[in-house]
């Protein structure tokens, strides 16, 4: 099975606060073909994301395939509200990088 890293298939991969208690991640594709390919691949799911970020599945509060924007989107609950002492990323803007290398099967 051949794979491609997600970063080669997606147009945008980003993370950002969704309110003060959650960080939301958007993976947006340039065309329906790559969007459907990743959706069907089973490589980007709530389970694979939970494993990648080493968080229990329950911390993922949403995992949505959003057709109008050709996007897959998920949200992780923070350990502490944004900006608390010990904060690493007040805006939640740099949490997406590990998604880049996620291997997506693209056929044999």
């Amino acid at each position: 099975m051949t794979t491609k890293p997600l970063v080669e298939l997606a147009k945008t991969i980003r993370s950002k606060n969704a309110g003060v208690d959650q960080i939301t991640f958007d993976v947006i594709f340039p065309d329906r073909e790559s969007y459907e390919l990743v959706k069907r691949s089973g490589a980007l799911t709530a389970e694979t994301v939970a494993r990648l970020y080493a968080v229990p599945r329950e911390r993922l509060t949403a995992f949505v395939e959003y057709d109008p924007a050709l996007a897959i989107k998920f949200t992780i609950r923070r350990e502490r509200p944004s900006g608390s002492p010990g904060e690493r990323d007040v805006f939640g803007a740099q949490q997406y990088a590990p998604l880049f290398d996620l291997p997506i099967p693209v056929g044999s």
Binding site: K16, N17, T24, D26, T61, L70, K73, P85
Partner: protein
């Protein structure tokens, strides 16, 4: 009812960085029916609200307010600013109102009406409601509000919906300076007042709230114009190099929210599940198919911040590969030396080690934690009720990185590089104590609207 209404949105956060003048002036040339901008966010963390400070320089805030005010007065259309001065506290509303009065004098503007809407809420007010048995539900998995959590809160604001802004416009306001408000509501208010359906009006607000973030390619602080008709919203980029495309507008619908289908505001939720997007010209996308679901009980969001302690910060570098491999042992050593004198962390102090080059950005979410870089930057952060104590804890926790006892270390003259043997004072540490919703019998319960004549 007019058949259409257009709103110019020049910035997603007034004052955060200055508005770009070029696309703003192109937008003003289109003669919009209102100029509207949001000026606050909870993204900036809890400190500005907790300590009641603005995080944007007043010079930039004045710059943006001046651009908007002069254009709005020249066109003779309303100007609305929500969440004044980053936090939307009464301080922010009063500060912006003063800037507006000063600008009116300086530019000798003809008389106009200025309305201020304050929405800061006292702790006592919320305590009274808790005692009356009102259940104040937590959002995003938080438990309902308790007296204990409220007691840890220094300052709180109620996030207003459209009702107070509509009332200010009814009072003849030419300029509205509002306290903390839902971003989309400050745009929806003039559209609802003009008679457009709530669904279209709230969608207009949703798509305009971050200005050029709804367009592509990525640019900040550029103007866009949204136009509402009874069943559609069209959005056009004003910067000659930007376009509002189906992709940029649809992907903006999910920006900064857990769920791309619903936008909650005071009194209900905008439902975007069945939205349809179509490109109508090169720079314009038209959206239809939205709905508005009114809540059975009118509820507004409460945001609150409370102080945790004073903050001290120090910086250390590590280059020795052996020390880097054993960085956790080094940190454990430094922590143990702090605990010897201060006991375990808790009420007296908190101590955090940010290990840049390993997992400083992502912490436990970092999958590459086992592969640190060839040099590390440690930022040591200490919090304590008094700054003097935070300073001592921080110094102890940093200097002991230098003295860590590792069995096979070769560099026996110190295991860390200090950029300077100095502890820096950070702004105090706060936390978001409230992210809750409060039921209200009347949308005007917690707001104060004042209207005055300015200029002339």
């Amino acid at each position: 009812m007019p058949d259409r209404l257009s709103i110019l949105s020049p910035t997603g956060h007034l004052g955060f960085t200055p508005i770009e003048r070029g696309s703003f002036e192109i937008g003003v040339g289109r003669r919009p029916d209102a100029i509207v901008a949001d000026s606050g966010s909870c993204d900036i963390g809890p400190q500005p609200l907790g300590s009641d400070e603005h995080c944007s320089p007043e010079e930039w805030q004045r710059h943006d307010l001046e651009l908007m005010l002069l254009a709005a007065r020249q066109l003779g259309v309303p100007m609305i600013v929500g969440s004044a001065s980053d936090t939307g506290t009464d301080r922010g509303v009063n500060q912006y109102a003063d800037i507006i009065r000063g600008l009116a004098r300086r530019h000798r503007l003809a008389p106009f009406k200025l309305s201020t809407i304050c929405s800061q809420v006292s702790r006592e007010e919320v305590a009274r409601r808790l005692e009356d048995g009102v259940r104040i539900e937590g959002l995003d998995g938080r438990p309902p509000l308790t007296k204990e959590t409220l007691a840890r809160t220094d300052r709180l604001v109620a996030v207003m919906g459209v009702a107070p802004i509509i009332r200010a416009l009814d009072e003849g306001a030419d300029v509205v300076i509002a306290g903390r408000s839902s971003d989309s509501c400050i745009f929806a208010a003039p559209a609802i007042r003009a008679g457009f359906p709530e669904a279209a009006a709230y969608y207009l607000g949703k798509v305009l709230e971050c200005a050029s973030f709804a367009a592509e390619p990525f640019m900040g602080k550029e103007s866009i114009i949204g136009t509402v008709t009874p069943d559609a919203v069209s959005v056009t980029a004003m910067h000659p190099g930007q376009r509002c495309t189906v992709a940029s507008v649809a992907s903006h619908a999910m920006y900064e929210r857990a769920n791309p289908f619903f936008e909650h505001v005071a009194g209900g939720a905008l439902d975007m599940t069945h939205c349809r997007y179509e490109q109508v010209d090169e720079r314009t996308t038209r959206v239809t198919g939205f709905a508005f679901r009114r809540d059975p009980v009118y509820r507004i969001k409460l945001e609150g911040a409370g102080k945790v302690g004073e903050r001290a910060v120090a910086i250390a570098g590590i280059r020795d590969p052996y020390t880097i491999r054993h960085i956790d042992a080094v940190i454990d050593w430094a922590r143990s030396k702090v605990e010897e004198r201060w006991g375990p962390p808790g009420e007296r102090y908190q101590l955090y080690y940010h290990v840049y080059g390993r997992d400083g950005v992502m912490g436990p979410w970092e999958p590459q934690r086992a592969f640190p870089a060839h040099e590390l930057c440690l930022v040591v952060e200490a919090i304590a009720p008094r700054f003097e104590d935070a300073e001592v804890v921080c110094a102890l926790g940093t200097r002991n990185l230098f003295y860590a006892r590792l069995p096979e270390v070769k560099g026996t003259a110190g295991t860390a590089a200090l950029m300077m043997d100095e502890v820096l004072r950070g702004k105090a540490g706060y936390e978001w104590t409230l992210n809750h919703v409060l039921p209200l019998a009347d949308p005007f319960e917690l707001v104060t609207i004042k209207t005055e004549v300015v200029g002339g």
